[in-house]
Symmetry: C2
């Protein structure tokens, strides 16, 4: 462990490579999403709000996205102002608001998803499909909740 740390160059550090690869994807995706009026984090919230029929709570969004609750509130505010999501009281817990994609939000999300997928494919173009699957599997293992 110590030997590795002392002699490893930054360019081969998995943490550094993760950060660089993520940065490339975010940059390409933001560029692709611009014409849909979205940035990556807004797109992620919109997508999650559209995936669950009943919507998703802001607390769930914070957990799923690894963001602070205050950041999620801002993102939902922005999407709500654009008419892409709505906050609705939960049927089972009236103290909780659920974030739900509007019809317009679903339309925008579908088009944005195509643009985001293209941007991702461009960034990962040096990997073949099997390598992409492998990368997905390894990353899913890293981000899986502990326990």
């Amino acid at each position: 462990m110590m030997e590795v740390a002392m002699h490893q160059h930054l360019s081969t550090d998995v943490g550094f490579l993760l950060s660089r690869a993520s940065g490339l994807v975010v940059r390409a995706t933001n560029a692709a999403l611009a014409e849909h009026g979205l940035r990556v984090r807004q797109y992620s919230v919109l997508t999650l709000a559209g995936e669950a029929e009943r919507g998703v709570s802001q607390r769930e969004l914070a957990t799923l996205l690894g963001l602070d609750p205050s950041q999620v509130v801002l993102l939902v505010d922005e999407l709500a102002a654009a008419g892409l999501v709505e906050r609705r009281p939960s049927a089972t817990d009236r103290r909780t608001n659920l974030v739900v994609a509007t019809g317009r939000g679903r339309d925008v999300q579908e088009r944005a998803a195509l643009a985001a997928a293209d941007a991702l494919a461009g960034t990962l173009s040096r990997l073949d499909p099997a390598q992409c699957d492998l990368l997905r599997t390894l990353l899913a293992e890293v981000v899986a909740p502990a326990g």
Copy 2:
């Protein structure tokens, strides 16, 4: 391509997983580096400044780190103020300043590297060594310069 984009959930999107995994590593590494007075980007600049005997130009730092030149200038300013790096005129091009780690900077970097490696190992603890190597190889391919 379109089919994939339309039916894929965010939680299986490689771009989303990259962002989440990178976020986990950055958070753990920032926590580990705090006692060394550094954050991840400062640590990365300090490490690169120490890797090359003659130092590294701010332009090279921007390319290697995927940052704007103005961000790099700020990071170097912070590290210089802390006495961890110095700017020295290049011997071959006097218009270019090279960023060089000071003796104290090298000491701090060595201790910080151990802390960062521990934080990374903790974040990747669900992967065995072969899987870590595989992840490194795939990410290096993604971030390799085009051409």
